[in-house]
C-alpha cells in the first residue's frame, strides 16, 4: 500500500482510470479513520487526548494500491478535484434515453387500451 499526499494521489487515480479503459475495474474506498491502532486510541482516550479523525481514501486497479488521508481543512478542495476526475472518466455509462422510454410506455398503454376495448365489445354483445 503506497501512502501518498492528496495531489499525487489524484494524479495516480487518473492514470488508473486511463489504464483500465479496455479491461479491469477501479475500486475507490472512503473510510472515517484516525490512522492510529486500537491500542494507541485507547491510550489517548484514557489520557484525555483528543483523537484527530480524517478521511482515508484508498484506490486500487486490482494490482496497484494507493491511499491518502484527507483532513477537515482540505476536504472541500479534494472533493472538488475528485468529482472532476470522476465526471471526466466515467463516460461509459448510458445516457438516459427519454424518447425510447416514452415510446415504449405509449406502445404498452396503447396495446392495453385495445385489449380493454375488445373485452367491452364482447360483454355488450353478450347482454342482449
Amino acid at each position: 500500500m503506497v501512502r501518498l499526499q492528496p495531489d499525487p494521489f489524484l494524479n495516480e487515480l487518473t492514470s488508473m482510470f486511463e489504464r483500465t479503459t479496455e479491461k479491469g475495474s477501479v475500486w475507490v474506498t472512503l473510510k472515517h479513520s484516525s490512522d492510529k491502532s486500537k491500542v494507541q486510541r485507547n491510550k489517548m482516550a484514557t489520557a484525555g487526548e483528543e483523537i484527530e479523525y480524517r478521511c482515508l481514501v484508498r484506490a486500487t486497479d486490482g494490482k496497484k494500491n494507493i491511499s491518502t488521508l484527507v483532513g477537515a481543512k482540505d476536504h472541500q478542495k479534494f472533493q472538488a478535484s475528485y468529482a472532476t476526475i470522476l465526471k471526466a472518466r466515467m463516460t461509459a455509462l448510458k445516457k438516459r434515453e427519454r424518447k425510447d422510454k416514452r415510446k415504449a410506455a405509449e406502445a404498452s398503454t396503447a396495446s392495453d387500451n385495445k385489449k380493454h376495448k375488445g373485452t367491452k365489445k364482447r360483454s355488450s354483445a353478450s347482454k342482449p
Partner: protein, 120 residues
C-alpha cells in the same frame, strides 16, 4: 448482497449506517469502463447495502453522496449535512435573482435617456 433499487432509500440507509458505526463503516465504489457499470457498497462489516447502475444520471447522484461522505468522514459523523445539500440549492437561487436585477437596471437606465424614450 443486498441490492437497493431506490436511490433515496440507499442514501438514507447509508447515512444512518455511518452514523450508527462511524468507526467501522466504509464506502466502496467500483467502476468498470469496459462494461459501463458502477457499483456502490456501504458496509460496517455486519450490515451491507449495495447499489448498481449503468446510467449516467446515477453518476451525478453519486457525486452528491460523495460530498456527503467526504464531509462526514473528514469532519465527523455529527456534522450537519444539510450544509452540503442546502449550499448547492442556496447558490443556485441568488445567481438567478442577480441576472434579473441586472436586466431591470439596464432597462431603467436606458429608459432614463430622453431620446431613447421614444423607442419605449
Amino acid at each position: 448482497m443486498v441490492y437497493i433499487t431506490s436511490w433515496d432509500d440507499f442514501v438514507e440507509r447509508s447515512i444512518h449506517l455511518f452514523r450508527t458505526t462511524p468507526e467501522k463503516t466504509r464506502y466502496v465504489m467500483k467502476y468498470r469502463h469496459c462494461d459501463g457499470k458502477l457499483v456502490l457498497k456501504i458496509t460496517d462489516d455486519k450490515e451491507c447495502i449495495k447499489f448498481k447502475t449503468d446510467q449516467a444520471q446515477d453518476a451525478k447522484k453519486m457525486e452528491t453522496l460523495n460530498n456527503i461522505f467526504f464531509t462526514m468522514m473528514a469532519r465527523g459523523p455529527e456534522v450537519d449535512i444539510t450544509e452540503v445539500t442546502g449550499k448547492e440549492k442556496a447558490e443556485a437561487q441568488p445567481a438567478k435573482k442577480r441576472r434579473g436585477r441586472k436586466q431591470l437596471h439596464l432597462y431603467l437606465s436606458l429608459a432614463s435617456i430622453p431620446f431613447l424614450r421614444e423607442l419605449f
